[in-house]
C-alpha cells in the first residue's frame, strides 16, 4: 500500500510538472486544420526561427470552447482553422485581440480577407459540381447559388448537413446579400431539391454525382483536385473524372469565397511569435506548400495554384470580393436558424 501510494504520488507530481512545464521561445497553436502539410510547415518554421510550435489539435468547436473557458489563463496564441465563419464568430465572442498586423500581412492579403484580429492564409471557393451526362449546358447557364432553390433541381442536389461550417458560411453570405427572409425561402427550396438526406463530407457529395445518386453537388474547390491527385486511391480519381466544376454567380457578385484563417487569441502569451508565424505562412515558400498539398488557392499574388486546380477547375472565374468574409461569422446564427427552420438536417 505504501509503495503504491508513493508510485501514485510520484506519477502525479511528474505529470503535473510535464503539463505545466513550458519553454520560453514558443508559440501555442490551437489547430483545427488537420492537414499533414501544415505540420510540415510548422517544422520548417521552427527550423528557420528556433521558435517551438506547440499544437493542440481538435475539432474547431471544442477547441473554441476550451479557449473560452480557460479565458485569460489560456496558453493559446493562435487559433488556426478553416473557414472565416469560425474566425469571425470567435472574434464576436470577444476571444481575439487586435494587433495581428505586420507589413507582410498588409502587403500580401487583400482587405476583404483579413481583419486586425484574424488573417486569411489560403483561399477556397464553394462551387457546384455536375454530371456532364445528366446536366446540360443550357440548364447550367447563369446558375447562381440562389437558383439552386429552383424546382427544376428537384431530387437532384447533393449537399452536406446544416451543421457543416462551409454551408453555414455559404448561407450566411446569402443572408448578408439577400436578407434573412429570402434566405429562409431559399433554404426550403434547397431542402425540397435534395437528392438524399445530407450525409458525408464534401468528397462524398462529389462521389454521389459520379455514382448517379445526384446530378449536382455543392463542395469546395480543393476536394476535386485532391481526388484527381490519386492520393485518395484510383477509385476516387475515376469518380472525379466523371464530374465537372461550375462557378456560380459569374454574372453578378461572383463565386462564394472562403479562407483558412489564423486568429490572434486574447491574452496570447507569445504575441510576437504568433505574428512571426503568420508572416511565415504568407511567405511564397509556405504558400506554395499549401497550394501543392492542400490544393487551396494561394492568398498572396505571385504564387500559382496547383496544376491540378488550374487544369481542371480553371482560374479565370469572378470571385465574390464584395461580400466580406467577416460577415460569415456575423450572420452565422441567422444562417443556422434558417436552415434548421427549413428542416435541413
Amino acid at each position: 500500500m505504501g509503495i503504491m501510494k508513493k508510485i501514485v504520488n510520484t506519477a502525479l507530481i511528474i505529470c503535473l510538472f510535464v503539463s505545466t512545464f513550458s519553454l520560453a521561445n514558443e508559440v501555442n497553436i490551437f489547430n483545427a486544420r488537420h492537414y499533414k502539410a501544415d505540420a510540415e510547415l510548422y517544422s520548417k518554421f521552427t527550423a528557420s526561427t528556433g521558435i517551438k510550435v506547440n499544437l493542440i489539435n481538435g475539432k474547431a468547436g471544442a477547441l473554441e470552447k476550451r479557449m473560452i473557458e480557460e479565458g485569460v489563463d489560456s496558453a493559446a496564441d493562435l487559433y488556426i482553422t478553416a473557414d472565416a465563419g469560425r474566425c469571425g464568430a470567435f472574434k464576436s465572442k470577444g476571444m481575439t485581440q487586435s494587433g495581428l498586423v505586420s507589413s507582410t500581412i498588409k502587403s500580401s492579403v487583400p482587405k476583404s480577407f483579413r481583419t486586425t484580429h484574424w488573417v486569411g492564409v489560403a483561399k477556397r471557393a464553394r462551387i457546384v459540381y455536375y454530371s456532364p451526362e445528366r446536366v446540360s449546358g443550357a440548364e447550367l447557364s447563369g446558375l447562381t447559388y440562389e437558383s439552386l432553390a429552383d424546382p427544376k433541381w428537384k431530387g437532384r442536389i447533393a449537399i452536406r448537413a446544416s451543421s457543416n461550417i462551409y454551408n453555414k458560411s455559404l448561407v450566411a453570405s446569402l443572408v448578408k446579400n439577400n436578407g434573412k427572409k429570402a434566405a429562409g425561402e431559399w433554404a426550403k427550396g434547397v431542402v425540397a431539391n435534395m437528392a438524399r438526406d445530407p450525409k458525408g463530407n464534401d468528397r462524398a457529395q462529389i462521389m454521389a454525382v459520379a455514382a448517379g445518386e445526384a446530378d449536382i453537388a455543392v463542395a469546395n474547390t480543393y476536394y476535386l483536385a485532391l481526388m484527381l491527385s490519386g492520393n485518395k486511391g484510383p477509385e476516387q480519381q475515376e469518380a472525379a473524372k466523371k464530374v465537372k466544376a461550375f462557378f456560380p454567380n459569374q454574372n453578378d457578385r461572383g463565386t462564394h469565397m472562403n479562407i483558412s484563417c489564423a486568429a490572434l487569441v486574447k491574452g496570447a502569451p507569445n504575441k510576437a511569435n504568433a505574428i512571426a508565424l503568420v508572416d511565415f505562412l504568407l511567405s511564397p515558400e509556405a504558400q506554395e506548400h499549401f497550394t501543392n498539398n492542400t490544393f487551396e488557392f494561394p492568398m498572396i499574388a505571385g504564387v500559382s495554384p496547383s496544376s491540378l486546380v488550374v487544369n481542371n477547375l480553371g482560374l479565370d472565374f469572378k470571385q465574390d470580393l464584395t461580400t466580406s468574409v467577416s460577415s460569415y461569422g456575423a450572420k452565422q446564427a441567422d444562417a443556422l436558424e434558417v436552415m434548421t427552420a427549413a428542416g435541413w438536417k
Partner: protein, 542 residues
Amino acid sequence: MFSNKFNIWFLSSLLISLLVIIPILTVSLSFFEDTSRYFDILKKTFLFEYIINSLSLLVGVLILTFFLGVGSAYVVSFYKFPGVNFFKWALILSFAIPPYIYAYSLFAFFDNYGTAFTILKTLFGDGEYNKNIPKFDGMFGLILSISFSLYAYVYILARSSFLYQSQNLIDLGRNLGFSKFKSFYSIILPAARPAIVAGLSLVAMETLAEFGAVDFFSVNTLTTGIYNAWITFDDLAFANRISFFLLLFIFILFLTENLSRKKAKYHLDTKGGFKQKEKIKLSGTNSFFAFLFCFLLFFLSFLFPLGQMLYWTIKFPENFFDINIINLLLNTLYLVGLSSLVLIIFALISNYGNRVSRNKTLNFLSTLSISGYAIPGVILAVAFITFIAWFDENIIKSLGFLSIKKLFIGSILGLVIVYFVRFYSLAFNGIKSGYEKINVSVDESAYLLGYSKRKTFMNIHVPYLRNSLLFVVILISLEIIRELPITLVLRPFNFETFATTAYISASEDMLEAAAVPSLFLILIAAFFIAITSNYILKENNG
C-alpha cells in the same frame, strides 16, 4: 463513536463522492438558468425528432444485442460443435472495436467507390456498381455499429449465467419432454433474465453516451442536441437542460441494472448440488448452423472492421509514416496505466471501507460515487471545465491565489480526474463483486487469529481479489483506449492518443488516414483482451 464514524474510509469515500457529484450538480444547477433562442428553434423543429431518434437507436441496439449476445452465449454454453472453444473467447474480441471505428469501416466498405466497389470491379471488371451496393449509414448504420461493438456485454453476462444454471433444471425440461426451443424459452432464458437485463442495461448506457459513431453518421439524437446547444449556440444552460433529462433517463436504466445484478447474484448462489453440465454434441446441419452463426458473428464484429482498416493501411501506406506510432502508443499506455492505478487504489480503499465499517451513510456515498459511469463523456468534460472555471474565478482568485485552471484544464491531472469520475463504477463494482465472494466470516477468522485490518487486507483480500483486479484493469484499459470526448476536450498540448488521431482524421475529411491509428487501437485492445480472456471468462464463471 465519533472517531469510528469519521475514519479514513469515510473521508476517502466522501472525497470520491464529492468528485462525482460535482458534474451532476453543475448540470442540475444549470437546469434553471435562462436558455437562448435555441430552445425555441429546437422545439419547433427537431426536438421531437431527437427524442424519437434516441429511442429508435436505443430500441434497435437493444433488440440486436439481445439476439446476438444471448444467441451466441446459448450456443457456446449448451452445445458442442467444431470451433466452439475458439468462439467462446473469440467472440469477446469485438470489445476491441469501438463503435466509431465500426462506423468508419461500414462507410469505407459500402459507400460510393468504397471497398465493395473495388472488390466488384476487380472481380467483374468496370461497371456501374455504386447504385446496387447497399448503403449502411444513418440510423441503420449506427445501430449496426453500436450493436456489433457492444453485444459482448450481453454475451459475457448471459454466458456466465447459463454456465451456472443447474443441470437439474435442464434435465427437468428434458424429462417434461420439452423441445430444445421450449426448454430455452421457458426455462433457460427466464433463469438468466437478471444477467441478461444487466448486460442490456450496460449496452443501453453505452449507447446513450456514445459520441463518435453518432457524430460520424450525423444522426440527430439528444446527444447531438447537447453538443449543438453547447458548441454552436453557446447555450450551456440548455445543453445542461437536455443533459439533465438524459441523465434522468440513464438513472432509471442504472437502477434497473443494479437491481438485476442483485437478483443475478441470488441465482448464482448454487451451493451444493452443482453438477457439471453436459454439453449436447451437435451433428450434421445443426452443427454447421451453430458454427456458421458464431463464425458470421465473429467475422462481422471483429474480422470485418479489422480487415477494412488493414486494407486501407496497406492501400494508403503514406499515412503510416505520418503518425508517430511509438509516441501514440506511449501516450495511450501512460493514460491507461496511471488511470487504472488511481482507480484501483481508490476503489479498493472504498470497498474495504464499506466492508469494515458497514455504515449506511458510507454505503449511500459509494452508490452515489459510481453514478459517473452513466454520464456521457461529453457532458462530463463540459461540466468539469465549467466547474473549474467557476471555482477558479470565485474561490481561488478571490483568495489571492494564482489561477489553478492550467493545472486542471489541458493537463494529465484533469484528464485522469474526469476518467476517474467516468470509470469509477467499473473499478468499484468489479472489486465489489470480487469482495462479495469472500465471506465476511473470513475476516472474522483473520481477526481472531490476531491479524490487523491492514494485514487482513494485504494478505487475505488482495490475493483473493487478484482475478477481479485484473478484470477491472482490463475493463478500464479498454474504455480508456477507446475513450474519445473527454480526451478530445481535456488533453494537453502535443498530446494525442490513437483514438483522438483516428477521430480527428475521420472528422476532417481524411477518413483514410484514420485507418492507421484505428488499426493500432484495435490491435492493442485485442492484445489486452487476448492475454486476459481466460480471466475475463473465468471471472464471470465465478
